[in-house]
Symmetry: C2
Subunit: 413 residues, 2 copies
């Protein structure tokens, strides 16, 4: 490919331009991108992507929850579709790569393939999934979930956000959810391929360009509540205290240290805590904290949960401790075949790659439960994501797109 | 004394009536008392007390910060004054005993002594101190502090509360602080005697009616800040995390357990904590928590502070931990002579008493640094204070007043 004066190839420039172009829709005052489901900014981005796809000989359509597709019809008789893409929504004050890069990469890949090889044998589609992050409404994977039967349109009636906005109303305001578009649920998808930034440091630390995800971890999230007795810090003898924070410290420490038992592959995070009354001179009478555990084997998560309960029994003393599991997601394996193919392609192209486990959730885990799915990562500088500081060099984005193009070529031509 | 149909003595009834009467000034909607410094409710209470004192042959006067005095002039030539009383202000939604009982008790004691024995040899005064709690402005002991030179009127110019109200303005609105009254600072006080509720359970647990305070604990308060690195809970390997909450748990646990080394006489409380960003799926990057330590020997507090710093050194790892001491109050010993006298009086009256250390701060600690001071406690039901649930039985209040009367008699007649 032709390189410009900066030494960047045309493809590299094209990727960078498109990523930057897309980031203007929802560009916020804090130098980040805020593009929440069914907002004006979100709608403008989908509309702009639709126009772009149309200009590239893709047949565009929305489904009835607002997932946007660009289709390159196959010449063969097979009805199945090879789908690539990612999500268009962001967190509040997020970056311009998370999700968006996968959408841009899919469009460029289809454009490249059509320009170089004409129509594929098998149908290719790129998707800009409507929602993954859960930033505006208290649910995640609204886009991929509707395609795969995890969510259904009618769920929208029961989802209300903190501002009192009903998901159903927000959806209908943009004319989705009214039966004007095709039903989201699909049975014609042969495979799903997602290109995404890593959101971690593993690739950077191992100086690798492509991460081939073998599985996406399972997660459990808990709220632990500790009920003690709120009392005066100066007049309550130590031996009769029911200090809910002291017990919480012992529990949180022991939970985090459980990780060592599983060679640090069990990730344990206590990220949120509330003390009551939360005053320097009052013994905390009530504490609530969250525990997030992740591992790629569900067995380990189950065992860790049992151990946490044992730790509570041993530690609670005469305080009342409860543990409530409010998220329980099983690990999802990616397609071994597609992973192997990606590895071979990378090797052929002299692009360094490695297998890894994704500790973050992705649309691929929703697809991966039903169809062969491949999730590929490019490095995230300093492991940063969900921030305006999110960054990946154009050359690294390009390597990702090259692998994606070749993978789609091998599957569809 | 004459008992009524309920079996309560006249003195007991009088005390209960007066405590209830005083609680109407500032009685709030949540069945408690909210009587903050220089508010309308506070002013109404002081005015009502002034009238009551006048009706009981006490010569009344305010000093220039609003401490209200009732004086029973001594017949002797000595200029020194024996002072009793407590504070009139409350916390927000407090009870009717904390502070108020000591004021009521002082008035009733002087009334009783005058009625039974006429004028004393040494001058007796009862004081309704303007402020102790620190509930409206960010300072405590404004009343006793001005009498004893810990505070001075002019400090009021530099004290502003959260609502933007300047202490000086609030004071002047009620015509204090303008030189219209006597200067607060006194050099004529021979001794101070304060009767107060315990605000703890020690008397109740040991079934004792009177607590004779040997000393008021010293206190140090710290803010510990732990700076780690905020990161994704799913993509950040355990071995490279800089989890500020995990380190905080280890620190808080070790600090609290320091108490054991000092036979549990060192009280350690971690009462307040802030995590940032405080989200279930993000490793806390920054944590701040408070530590409150109390002991009746200053040496121990100094040693504990040194040990906390050692623990930080051992525990911090590659995180940045800072400790800032923002309160440092030395313990204050009460008068041994007055304590001994109180013990003898209790014993003579068949009232059970015990020595104890006060873990809470009181006006007595401000007086106690300059003049012989005696702090006497009556039990608090279930140890509750600073709450509408604050309660002490009339019979127990009465025992306190009886000891106070006898103590004042022995000192002044």
């Amino acid at each position: 490919m032709v390189a410009d004066m900066t030494g960047k190839s045309k493809l590299c420039q094209q990727i960078e331009e498109n990523v930057n172009w897309l980031s203007q829709f929802g560009g916020d005052e804090k130098e980040g991108v805020t593009r929440l489901l069914y907002t004006e900014q979100w709608n403008a981005a989908q509309k702009a992507l639709e126009e772009k796809m149309k200009g590239l000989h893709l047949k565009t359509y929305y489904d009835d929850v607002g997932n946007l597709f660009g289709r390159l019809q196959g010449t063969g008789s097979e009805q199945q579709v090879i789908l690539t893409g990612s999500h268009i929504d962001t967190v509040i004050n997020g970056g311009k790569y998370d999700g968006a890069f996968g959408v841009v990469a899919g469009i460029i890949a289809l454009q490249y393939l059509y320009a170089h090889y004409g129509s594929p044998t098998k149908t290719l589609e790129v998707v800009s999934l409507c929602e993954e992050e859960g930033s505006r409404f208290p649910l995640t994977y609204w886009g991929s979930g509707n395609i795969n039967g995890l969510h259904s349109k009618s769920d929208a009636k029961h989802v209300i956000n903190k501002e009192g906005v009903k998901l159903d109303d927000a959806m209908k305001q943009l004319n989705f959810g009214k039966g004007l578009h095709s039903e989201p649920y699909r049975t014609d998808i042969a495979s799903f391929i997602e290109l995404h930034i890593e959101q971690g440091k593993q690739l950077e630390m191992s100086r690798c360009d492509i991460g081939i995800v073998s599985s996406i971890v399972g997660q459990k999230r808990f709220t632990v509540s500790v009920k003690g007795e709120s009392n005066h810090a100066g007049t309550t003898p130590m031996n009769i205290r029911k200090d809910a924070f002291y017990v919480s410290c012992k529990l949180a420490k022991a939970f985090i240290e459980l990780s060592e038992k599983y060679h640090n592959a069990l990730y344990v995070t206590v990220g949120k805590i509330t003390l009551s009354p939360n005053a320097p001179n009052v013994i905390p009478g009530y504490v609530e904290f969250t525990v997030d555990i992740r591992h790629h084997e569900y067995e380990v998560l189950q065992e860790a949960e049992r151990e946490m309960k044992e730790i509570i029994k041993r530690t609670a003393g005469d305080l009342e401790v409860n543990i409530d599991c409010w998220m329980d997601e099983k690990p999802v394996a990616m397609s071994e075949e597609l992973s192997e193919l990606s590895k071979i392609i990378s090797s052929e192209k002299n692009i360094s790659s490695r297998e890894l486990v994704s500790g973050a959730g992705h649309d691929s885990q929703v697809f991966g439960r039903r169809v062969p799915t491949c999730l590929l990562f490019v490095p995230s500088q300093d492991g940063i994501s969900h921030s305006p500081k999110e960054f990946t060099k154009g050359e690294q984005l390009e390597k990702g797109v090259k692998v994606l193009i070749e993978l789609l070529y091998k599957l569809a031509y």
